[in-house]
Symmetry: C2
Amino acid sequence: MEYIRNGEEIYRKSFAIIRAESNLENLADDLAQVAVRLIHSCGMTDITKDLEASSDAVKIGRMALAQGASILCDSQMVAQGITKARLPQNNQIICTLNHPEVPEIARQINNTRSAAALEFWRPDLGGAVVVIGNAPTALFRLLELLDENVAKPALILGFPVGFVGAAESKLELAANSRGVPFITLHGRRGGSAIAAAAVNALAKESEL
Amino acid sequence: MEYIRNGEEIYRKSFAIIRAESNLENLADDLAQVAVRLIHSCGMTDITKDLEASSDAVKIGRMALAQGASILCDSQMVAQGITKARLPQNNQIICTLNHPEVPEIARQINNTRSAAALEFWRPDLGGAVVVIGNAPTALFRLLELLDENVAKPALILGFPVGFVGAAESKLELAANSRGVPFITLHGRRGGSAIAAAAVNALAKESEL
């Protein structure tokens, strides 16, 4: 069979197709660069219309990672999707979803396990890059914690997916991010691959 | 903030919205059930138009898993996305991408690491459920191995994503699956969440 077998060539050709077919004009240059990588992760050029970021979010995210910020993930899939070799400071990747006390805390706070897992983010939240690629309840819970005046993360990458709460949680984030810079994809679309791609885009400017 | 915090309620409501909004009429009943879970994983009801499966693929996949088939994944994200509690036989989940010899084999066979990782699938391929949620080259390579008469898997779940090779590899799978049952999503869309959702749908009939 005839197909391209060279990984680097696949990347280059993919990014060239994305740049040719996507509507990137309305995005700031640095956000457009992130958008290209998000598009690459999901195969959909039309996500640019749903992308929103606070001003300087990309710059702030790049700086935080360059200074060694921890990366807090709501799911193991997001954690797995981060390309370790791109991280500038071998940044710590933290996912607390499988902490043994999470199910009990979920019962106590009457919320999902994804939301309960954030209890164990508290010591690492200040200055961290938070990446939510699965659960709307994790994003809602993060905003609740910020209302309780926990230490602020450097950046929120808000990409929960689905039919219940995803669009709503991202609207809430964009309407009032509690003073924290953010990047989000409005609507039902999102997910761990797109969320991890956002980290990978911020981690290193070079596309390869 | 007002939001639904009960995990089970979120699932039920999500599936109800999906059933109300999706075009499932043209799919066989058991494939429609799988489609609902795929839609749930990506937030997009319109994927049904790109879904294709060989006849009895769902039935065969369910049976294979019930009989303890191993699950071969092209990426760690796919492996992480499989809900272990849904598996009927605590089925083995195998991802060989990080095997230390993969980079060297990739050089030798002049292909990507994702394709090279399949060399280590050989002893487990017969009767397995193969799940490709990332790399088109892994799906192409699988078809090449089948042309070399390796032991046939029970089912191919073909969901590679992206701009180079994804659509092409899935067209090749659907045109000639080498006698192996398959489920695939045509076009550029796909990815680890959708691929893992396919396994989760086959693993257990109940949606919760």
